[in-house]
């Protein structure tokens, strides 16, 4: 069995004392920061990135992956206990989870979230192990035309899946693509859009932009109307689920996992879309759909399973194609490049220990989460209760040190402040930051593949339609865009997001 061999390599890599320790530290730190209200996974990873600078590639990525699930899980804890989802993917969990907590069933809701996340994580990890190798083999056949079309498809998908105005999402992607071009042009050596600043010759650092837009911009928004938070959570008891409860969550957990696994692979989808979709499916399927939103255990189980499955499978395009499907994966790619690894289909064959190590560490990380987090719930509750006005200066401190230590450059700090301002302005006009960050990462890659494809075809643009895989991807992109722009379906999309 090839699969077992692969997983064997992974287990061998992860099962060293130090790597297990880094996984554990990652999961714990991720949860600790993730439970803080208003801090999503992308901001958490960006903030904690400097902790991995001194590590070698494998432990660094294992730890970052751990931080990712940890923060995801921490977000659900906050959503259930104080109705303040730290990230968009746990918004849905708050609907029924918080109601359960209000009815004195906080422990039950938390246990449901933990168990469903674990089950989903296990299944999604297996899916990665089974489907990543053939996908990487396929990707090795890709030429520049296929890569370019794939990125077009990815960007179109992220536009369609973005909440809010389509037109503004397209605009933000284009701005991102432009910002990605800042720096030295690899083909001609010309410095583009650098305004003569040598600090910009290597391009805009993704982390700097992400911290500015996500962390600083968000903080200013939160300070706009400081409201007293309800911190009377009290003690969490009754973590055990009854046989009856288990029966109720089995089907929703598996449905959620299936949905999340598929949606997580899509660019721009990932955890958030998965949890929204899973919740609406449960509501449709359930015989007592009227009770949803009033503390249904199914309403916690399905979205939690879905967002964890989606979080895992969003690694697939990153690991096999080197293309990020969401800002978190873009950060992972940034971290890999910092470690001297060029993400893409070659990673699996050239660095099997790294690849399978990450896959297996996902499973271990999920195991740690389910074993540790329920006993540690008292600690997380105390973290949540830290009032925001004492918390946000700390977030700024960590962002500042994180950005500075990237290149030991104060210029990066000024850039971060500029992007913080831009992020705040964009938020005011409801222009989403996530598509822009995707564009920022894809910009230079898209230009390069477009150039190569056009050079090889002797400036015949038909090459994108003559290569079958490329043609299919472009057709899917055009069709899905057309489907959304058509007014009838647009109405449905709006409804889906309201739900």
């Amino acid at each position: 069995m090839e699969l077992l061999d692969h997983l064997g390599i992974g287990f061998e890599t992860v099962f060293t004392v130090s790597n297990l320790l880094y996984c554990l530290i990652g999961v714990l730190l991720g949860t600790a920061i993730g439970v803080l209200p208003g801090l999503g996974p992308a901001a958490t990873i960006a903030m904690l990135l400097p902790l991995t600078f001194n590590l070698s590639a494998i432990p660094a990525l294992i730890m970052l992956a751990g931080i990712y699930y940890g923060s995801q899980y921490g977000g659900s804890t906050t959503a259930i206990l104080v109705n303040l989802p730290g990230e968009s993917s746990s918004v849905v969990t708050a609907l029924d989870g918080y109601k359960m907590a209000r009815q004195g069933q906080a422990g039950k809701a938390l246990a449901t979230a933990a168990i469903c996340s674990f089950v989903a994580g296990c299944i999604a990890t297996l899916v990665i192990a089974v489907f990543a190798p053939p996908l990487a083999d396929l990707a090795l056949e890709f030429g520049p035309a296929e890569y370019f079309s794939l990125m077009v498809l990815g960007l179109v998908a992220s536009v369609i899946l973005a909440a809010g105005s389509l037109l503004r999402a397209v605009g933000m992607i284009l701005i991102g693509l432009l910002l990605g071009l800042v720096g030295t042009d690899v083909n001609s050596g010309v410095q583009r859009y650098t305004f003569g600043r040598p600090e910009l010759f290597d391009g805009l650092d993704f982390v700097v932009v992400a911290m500015g837009m996500f962390a600083l911009g968000e903080i200013i928004r939160n300070l706009e109307n400081e409201i007293e938070r309800n911190t009377t959570t009290g003690k969490v008891t009754g973590l055990m689920l009854t046989r009856e409860d288990l029966k109720r969550i089995v089907a929703p957990a598996f449905r959620g996992t299936a949905l999340g696994t598929v949606l997580g692979i899509l660019p721009g989808g990932g955890a958030m879309l998965s949890s929204f979709a899973a919740y609406s499916v449960e509501k449709k399927v359930s015989p007592n759909s009227a009770h949803f939103g009033k503390g249904m255990i199914e309403g916690v189980a399905a979205p939690e399973a879905a967002n964890n499955a989606g979080a895992q499978t969003s690694f697939i395009p990153m690991l096999t194609l080197g293309i990020p499907s969401n800002p978190v994966m873009a950060l992972m790619i940034g971290a890999m490049i910092m470690q001297g690894i060029q993400p893409g289909p070659a990673v699996m064959t050239e660095q099997p220990a790294l690849f399978w190590g990450i896959v297996v560490s996902m499973w271990i990380g999920n195991l740690f989460l389910v074993i540790l987090n329920l006993p540690l719930i008292g600690l997380w509750v105390r973290m949540i209760m830290v009032p925001y006005h004492f918390l946000f200066p700390g977030i700024i401190v960590f962002c500042t040190i994180g950005v500075y230590s990237l290149n030991n450059s104060t210029f990066d700090l000024y850039l971060m402040a500029i992007f913080g301002l831009f992020g705040y302005v964009c938020a005011k006009f409801e222009m989403e930051a996530a598509p822009m960050l995707l564009g920022l990462i894809l910009g230079p890659m898209m230009e390069e593949y477009l150039r190569r494809a056009m050079l090889m075809s002797r400036s015949d643009p038909m090459v994108f339609l003559q290569e079958p895989i490329s043609a299919v991807m472009l057709a899917v992109a055009v069709l899905s865009l057309a489907a959304v722009v058509l007014p009838a379906l647009r109405q449905k999309r709006a409804e889906a997001f309201v739900e």
Partner: protein, 153 residues
Amino acid sequence: MRLLIKNPQDFWSGIIFLIFGSGAILIGRDYAMGTAGQMGPAYFPTAIGALLLLVGALALLRSTIRSGPAIGRFSMKQAALVLSAPILFGLLLHVGGFLVAIFLLVLISGCASTRFRTVPYLALALGFALFCVLLFVVLLGIPLPIFGTLFNF
């Protein structure tokens, strides 16, 4: 003018798109264009810039047709304090040192909150400064000067 704009969010995002689009094209004129088969450094950004102009124009057009929510007030004070904190940190790091820079960063950003009280925030700033020196400089070994040139006698 105000009567014409039914959706200020669309209007202002359109303006931003137009600024970025025209900026990309205008600055891009300094670089070689090349041909479709041999793209110069200006080719791709000019194309993206043109698309942005199109999107911006559409947004402006839409802002006069479809109505949308008004834009809330900008919190200038909060924005200024939060954003100036990391800038000041950058300016102070080498002169005053890491300890002083963190201390002031916490105090200044803290002023952005309506719940700012002098004594608790002084304690918070001192706590953070000591904690960060311990974590980043001592434990993680990130090369940051604990004391700046100001303290060299």
